[in-house]
Symmetry: C2
Subunit: 261 residues, 2 copies
């Protein structure tokens, strides 16, 4: 049994790469176990701010891939850390779900339900509604609030098909406020990757990123000098013309093919 690439650090996207909904991608547990057994360092990246890192680690463990919260880098964590560097303790209004709110509070931010804030934080939010859109508008108009978002994805794959993701919330807020979101911390931003490389303790050249999205996982990896592996178990079809255009280092049917027996 050999591992296809020699790199010390391995970053895996989750949805569409390691699992889809509640089902593990066949071979995922064995592949991760083999990498770890060979001494490679593994972490999991997610643009989704819908769960806490504890919940992600619990889900991975339950599906057969033992993981701790420290193994998981999601966009909630990265947003909270990045905003801490820009404006620590600021009052914020959140278009997002409770795990993001909890992460922001844990990082010392004052999460408010009204427009008296310095930042509007925009995330993938299945409880998004008109009232939140209006509060975002008032925060910008009356308080001069700035805009920051977790992730740029249009849709999120689930077992029942794709559902609207953060791009819908970002577009609505930008359209009514006339302002552009200043920073989106999730993939393909270098911000999330820098946090992940620090967590693994490796440099970009020593690391592989494995994911199912050309426009986030692969584009970001190439831009920062990581090795890139596209898997076809998620949103990108095998005949996507962007594969030839962007040129990932490898295109695999699934992450099972990372290991040759």
């Amino acid at each position: 049994m050999t591992i296809r690439l020699p790199h010390r650090g391995w970053l895996f996207d989750l949805d569409g790469t390691v699992y889809r909904g509640e089902g593990l991608i066949p071979g995922a547990a064995e592949t991760i176990a083999a990498l770890r057994y060979a001494g490679r360092r593994v972490a999991f990246l997610s643009n989704k701010p819908l769960q806490t890192r504890e919940q992600y680690a619990g889900k991975l463990t339950r599906l057969g891939i033992p993981a701790t919260p420290a193994d998981v880098i999601n966009s909630s964590l990265v947003l909270a850390r990045h905003l801490q560097s820009l404006d620590p303790g600021a009052p914020v209004f959140v278009i997002g779900e409770p795990p993001l709110v909890d992460e922001l509070r844990a990082h010392g931010f004052e999460v408010r339900a009204d427009h008296r804030v310095r930042w509007v934080v925009i995330a993938f939010d299945r409880t998004f509604d008109y009232a939140k859109l209006n509060t975002a508008l008032q925060a910008v108009r009356r308080s001069g609030a700035r805009l920051i978002a977790t992730n740029p994805d249009r849709t999120c794959p689930t077992e029942d098909g794709e559902i609207p993701d953060c791009a819908g919330m970002i577009a609505a807020v930008e359209a009514v406020t006339g302002r552009t979101v200043e920073v989106i911390v999730g993939k393909p931003s270098p911000i999330i990757l820098e946090v992940a490389l620090r967590a693994l303790g490796v440099s970009a050249g020593e690391c592989v990123i494995v994911g199912d999205r050309i426009e986030t996982d692969i584009v970001m990896g190439k831009r920062l000098g990581l090795a890139t592996v596209l898997v076809l178990t998620g949103i990108t079809p095998a005949d996507d013309p962007r594969i030839a255009e962007i040129g990932p280092d490898a295109v695999l049917g699934s992450l099972r093919e990372l290991i040759r027996s």
Copy 2:
């Protein structure tokens, strides 16, 4: 007392021109009465799909400007008529409020709550939420539904300030579906103006449009060859640089100045 312009037909925007919220713009009732007394034909245009024409006529009458439903051209009516010409009786999913749904049903459309539709109708909707955004996405992905919208406004002026308008809903749907809305029937589309000119029985050259929005009322009027009057009682400030750029035929403090005593 003289009327500033000789035209037979007069189209008035409502919000910001004739009233603001529940308050009539001072002089509005007297000006409309004088125009009607002089034999000019008057109709009211609104991009807002939030009320029925009956409700608009009732409100105008209550505020001191007697009006019937036939005097009111709103974007719900225009959308229903336009869609009738494109795809009569089609199944539709509506991001919108009950008056729009009622207008569509009255025009023979099958309004559905699921994605099995040929059109997604997008409107200013204070009950917009993630579930509606998801149904719109599924309608496009699974049923190949097409997109049509009532009005392109970013915000709507109210007595308490501006609130998010249809542009927010359009942007969210376009962002998650990756599709562009095919037609927006409300101002500045020529579609609403053609319906209004037919209702008044006048040609474009015989008609004035009076409104508070440069980018809809004035741009549309100029494009179709109407005389254009910008009033400063709504969203456009006196120092807006677009006034010189677009060049309405007159810029007035309010519609009271349409009459010289």
